[in-house]
C-alpha cells in the first residue's frame, strides 16, 4: 500500500481510549493503515499522541466586518495551532450572518485558506433582532450548521419557540446564549460577595438559571410538534457557567429532552476571584463564577450532562480590552490554548480521564452538530491532531496566530501542546520544531 504520509511511532488515542503504538499511513484524505506502509514522506513522531481533530462548536471569528479583532485567516490558523480541524463560527458579525449568500461567502473563503474547516452558524432571526425568523432551509442548503442569535439573548420566548420548531423541521440545531437580560442588567462580573465589595455591577447566577429553565420549558412545548429531520439535539445551551444551570440541564436530559450543553475552558479554570485585579481581560459573558461552579461543571463534563467544550473564542483588540470594566467588551481569545489548558488542569492535575476529555473536544461537539465522528481506524477520515503529552511550555500570547495576543493564562505552564494538525489527510499545520512542511 502506498500513501502520502507515514507517521511512525505514535500512540493512538480516541474517545474510546488508548490503542497503543502505531505507524499511521495516510493517503487520499484517509487513514490507510495503522501498521505502516510506503509513503512519499515519513515522519517519526517519537511517541507523541495522535487523536481525531478537535471540533469547536462556538468561536467568534469576526468576519465579516470586525476584521480588526480577528479574521478567518488568523482565527482558523489559530484553530489549527490549537489542534482543531473543525470550527463553528458565530454569526454576530457586522452585518450578522443571516443570509445564504453570507454563509456561502464564508465557506468559500475558508476553503481557500486551507486551514481548519469552517462550519458557519447563521442567525436565528433576521439581523439577530429577535423578531423575524431567518431562512432556515436555505441557510442549511448554503452550509449553515446551526442557528443562533448568540451575542444577544433570546428575549422573546415566542420567537424562540417558533425558531426551534422551524429549525428542527430542517434538521438544524439552535444554540442559545442563555442569560436573562433583565436579571443580568449591566452586570460585568459574577454577582456575589466580590462584586459587592468591588462595587462592580453583578450578573447573578439566577440570570443563567432562569433563562435555561424558560428555554427548557419551550423545548418541552415545541417537542411534540417537531417533525421531519429532527436533530438529535434541538436546543444547545452555550457556555454553561453555573451549578444551578447544570442541574436544570441534567434534569432535562434525564427526562429525555433533546438538549445539549457546552462549557468553555475559562469557566473550567478561572473564578470571579480573578476580577480582584480589576483587569477587564477577565470580563466575559457569562461571567467567571465560583470554585463551587467549577467543581459542578467538571462533574457535569465527566458524567456527560455537558456534551462538549465550546471555546467561545472571542477575540478583541488590546485597546478594546484596555478600556474600563464597564466599557471593555466581553470575551477571551482561547482557541490556541484550550486543549493544553484542559489537558493540564483537568487530566494532569485532577485525574480527569483523558479519553473522556478528548470525547468532549471531538465526538461530543460533532454529535451536537450532526457531523460524522472520527475514529482512529483504517478508512477513517484523516483529520487529526498530534500532540505532545509531556513537554511543558508557558502560554506566550505574543506567539498567538489570533489577533488577540493577550491571555488570562499568559505564563501558565501547560503540557499537551499540539504539534501537528492534519485536515483530510493534509498536514495543515506543524509546529516549527517538528520540521514537516505543510
Amino acid at each position: 500500500m502506498k500513501g502520502e504520509l507515514l507517521i511512525k511511532n505514535v500512540r493512538l488515542l480516541d474517545s474510546r481510549g488508548e490503542h497503543g503504538k502505531a505507524d499511521v499511513l495516510i493517503g487520499e484524505g484517509k487513514i490507510l493503515s495503522l501498521e505502516g506502509g510506503d509513503a512519499a514522506s515519513v515522519l517519526d513522531a517519537g511517541g507523541l499522541m495522535l487523536t481525531p481533530g478537535l471540533c469547536d462548536p462556538h468561536a467568534h471569528l469576526r468576519e465579516p466586518g470586525q476584521e480588526v479583532k480577528e479574521e478567518l485567516a488568523t482565527g482558523l490558523l489559530a484553530a489549527l495551532r490549537g489542534g482543531y480541524t473543525d470550527v463553528v463560527c458565530m454569526p454576530n458579525t457586522t452585518p450578522p450572518v443571516d443570509t445564504p449568500e453570507a454563509v456561502m461567502a464564508l465557506i468559500e473563503k475558508a476553503r481557500g485558506l486551507g486551514y481548519a474547516r469552517l462550519y458557519p452558524s447563521a442567525a436565528l432571526t433576521q439581523g439577530q433582532e429577535g423578531k423575524l425568523l431567518t431562512e432556515a432551509r436555505l441557510l442549511k442548503e448554503a452550509g449553515a450548521i446551526m442557528l443562533t442569535d448568540d451575542g444577544r439573548t433570546n428575549e422573546d420566548a415566542g420567537v424562540l419557540a417558533l425558531g426551534l420548531a422551524y429549525a428542527a423541521s430542517w434538521g438544524l440545531v439552535v444554540s442559545v446564549h442563555a442569560e436573562d437580560a433583565g436579571l443580568r442588567r449591566g452586570g460585568v462580573m459574577n454577582e456575589g460577595p466580590l462584586s459587592y465589595r468591588l462595587g462592580l455591577p453583578g450578573n447573578p447566577a439566577a440570570a443563567e438559571a432562569a433563562r435555561i429553565a424558560r428555554d427548557l420549558e419551550i423545548v418541552r412545548y415545541v417537542m411534540p410538534g417537531a417533525k421531519a429531520q429532527k436533530p438529535s439535539i434541538l436546543l444547545h445551551v452555550q457556555h454553561l457557567s453555573t451549578r444551578r444551570g447544570l442541574e436544570l440541564i441534567r434534569q432535562a436530559r434525564a427526562e429525555g429532552l433533546p438538549v445539549g450543553a457546552e462549557v468553555t475552558p475559562h469557566h473550567l479554570t478561572l473564578t470571579d476571584e480573578a476580577l480582584e485585579s480589576l483587569d477587564p481581560i477577565y470580563k466575559v459573558a457569562p461571567p467567571l463564577r465560583t470554585q463551587a461552579d467549577i467543581e459542578a461543571l467538571i462533574a457535569g463534563l465527566l458524567e456527560g450532562s455537558i456534551d462538549c467544550i465550546g471555546t467561545d473564542h472571542a477575540p478583541h483588540t488590546q485597546a478594546e480590552k484596555e478600556q474600563d470594566l464597564l466599557r471593555a467588551p466581553f470575551g477571551i481569545a482561547n482557541i490556541e490554548v484550550a486543549w493544553p489548558l484542559l489537558y493540564t488542569e483537568l487530566v494532569l492535575k485532577r485525574g480527569f480521564p483523558l479519553p473522556t476529555l478528548l470525547e468532549r473536544f471531538t465526538d461530543g461537539a460533532r454529535r451536537v452538530l450532526g457531523l460524522p465522528l472520527i475514529r482512529l481506524e483504517t478508512g477513517a477520515e484523516a483529520s487529526l491532531m498530534l500532540f505532545d503529552p509531556a513537554s511543558e511550555r508557558a502560554v506566550n500570547p505574543a506567539e498567538f496566530a489570533s489577533k488577540a495576543r493577550f491571555s488570562p493564562w499568559a505564563g501558565w505552564k501547560l503540557q499537551g501542546w499540539p504539534v501537528m494538525t492534519l485536515v483530510e489527510g493534509r498536514v495543515a499545520w506543524t509546529h516549527e520544531r517538528l520540521g514537516v512542511g505543510a
Binding site: Y196, L198, G199, L278, A319
Partner: protein, 317 residues
C-alpha cells in the same frame, strides 16, 4: 542635627505605594497619615497657608468624570504643598475623540508627572493606571468602588469630634449599592475599631460586605449610633426603577431631626456632599451644631495634603 544628615524621624511601617482603596493599608498606616494631617491643619491655620515641601513635584489631576469639588480640593492641597499641578479633564479633551485611558495617561506621563489623582465613572481604572504607570496613584473616586480620601476625611472628622472610633457605632444611610463613599468607609472605619451599619432601601443595598452590618431598617441602624452619615441620593436611580419615587425614599430613609433622636444625643451628622437638601436629609440639619459638613470640607484639605506627602516624599531610590 549633629550627624550632618538631617535627623530623620521616619515612619515605622512600610507604606503602600498607591491609595487605590484600603487593600494593603493597615491601622498604623492610617494613624501615621492622620498624624501628618494634624500637622497640615496647623499649616492651614497660618497666615501663609503654603509650605515648600513638594517643590519640584508635579501632580496630575486626571478627571475622566467631572467633579468640581474633589478636583479643587486636591489641586489646592497640591498647591499648598508647592507642587506643580497639571489638570486634565476627560470631558474637554481627546477622551471625547475616543483616545483610550491608557493613551491619555501615557501621554501625560511623558510630560513628567510624579503622581496621579484619578477620578473616573468606572471601577478599576486607577488599578489599571497603577499597572501602566510606575507612579503613585491616588483614587479620587472610581465608579461605585472606592473614594478613599473621602473616607479618610470622614474618619478624620469623626476622630476630631469623638476622640476615638473604638467600639463606636457609625450609621451610613442611603444608596449603599452605588456608593463608593459607603464602600470606602466600610473598609476604613472598621479598621479603626468602629462598628459600621449600612442602611438603605432593599434595592440599593449590596447582598453583603465584609466587617459591616447591612439593614433596611433605619431605626435599627440609627439606634444608639455615635455618628450618622447621609449619602447623596443620585436622582437617576429613580429612572432605572430602583426606587419608586422621591417621596417614597423620604418616607423611609430621610434623616430628620426626629429620626436623629434615635441616635446618641450628641451624635454628629456627616454628608459627603454635594447635598440634595430635603431629600436625603432634612434641609436645616446641615447647619445644625451636630453637622460636621463644614469640618469635612476643611479637613479634606489637610487629609489630601497628608496623602500627597505620604505618597510622594521619600520614594526615591
Amino acid at each position: 542635627m549633629g550627624t550632618g544628615v538631617m535627623e530623620t524621624h521616619t515612619h515605622s511601617a512600610e507604606q503602600p505605594k498607591h491609595l487605590l482603596d484600603f487593600q494593603g493599608w493597615n491601622r498604623a498606616h492610617i494613624e501615621s497619615l492622620f498624624e501628618t494631617a494634624k500637622m497640615m491643619q496647623e499649616v492651614l491655620s497660618r497666615p501663609v497657608k503654603k509650605v515648600p515641601a513638594l517643590t519640584g513635584f508635579t501632580v496630575a489631576t486626571v478627571f475622566f468624570e467631572p467633579s468640581t469639588r474633589t478636583r479643587l480640593s486636591f489641586e489646592l492641597a497640591a498647591r499648598r504643598m508647592s507642587a506643580d499641578v497639571l489638570s486634565f479633564s476627560g470631558a474637554t479633551s481627546s477622551m471625547s475623540k475616543g483616545e483610550s485611558y491608557k493613551d491619555t495617561l501615557l501621554t501625560l506621563d511623558a510630560m513628567g508627572i510624579d503622581a496621579y489623582v484619578i477620578r473616573v465613572d468606572a471601577a478599576g481604572v486607577p488599578h489599571q493606571a497603577a499597572r501602566w504607570l510606575g507612579k503613585p496613584i491616588i483614587n479620587a473616586g472610581d465608579g461605585w468602588r472606592a473614594h478613599p480620601t473621602q473616607a479618610l476625611l470622614d474618619a478624620f472628622s469623626l476622630l476630631e469630634r469623638l476622640g476615638s472610633l473604638e467600639g463606636r457605632k457609625i450609621a451610613i444611610v442611603g444608596d449603599i449599592l452605588h456608593s463608593r463613599v459607603a464602600r470606602s468607609n466600610a473598609e476604613l472605619l472598621p479598621m479603626l475599631g468602629a462598628e459600621v451599619w449600612l442602611c438603605g432601601p432593599a434595592t440599593l443595598l449590596p447582598g453583603e460586605l465584609p466587617r459591616v452590618r447591612l439593614t433596611t431598617d433605619l431605626r435599627e441602624a440609627l439606634h444608639d449610633a455615635d455618628a450618622v452619615m447621609a449619602l447623596r441620593l443620585q436622582k437617576e436611580r429613580m429612572d432605572r426603577g430602583l426606587l419608586p419615587s422621591e417621596p417614597e425614599y423620604i418616607a423611609g430613609y430621610q434623616i430628620t431631626h426626629e429620626r436623629l433622636g434615635w441616635a446618641k444625643p450628641e451624635a454628629p451628622l456627616l454628608h459627603p456632599g454635594p447635598m440634595n437638601r430635603d431629600l436625603e436629609l432634612e434641609g436645616t440639619l446641615a447647619e445644625s451644631p451636630r453637622s460636621l459638613v463644614e469640618r469635612q470640607v476643611a479637613n479634606g484639605q489637610a487629609v489630601r495634603m497628608a496623602v500627597l506627602y505620604h505618597l510622594l516624599v521619600g520614594r526615591k531610590g
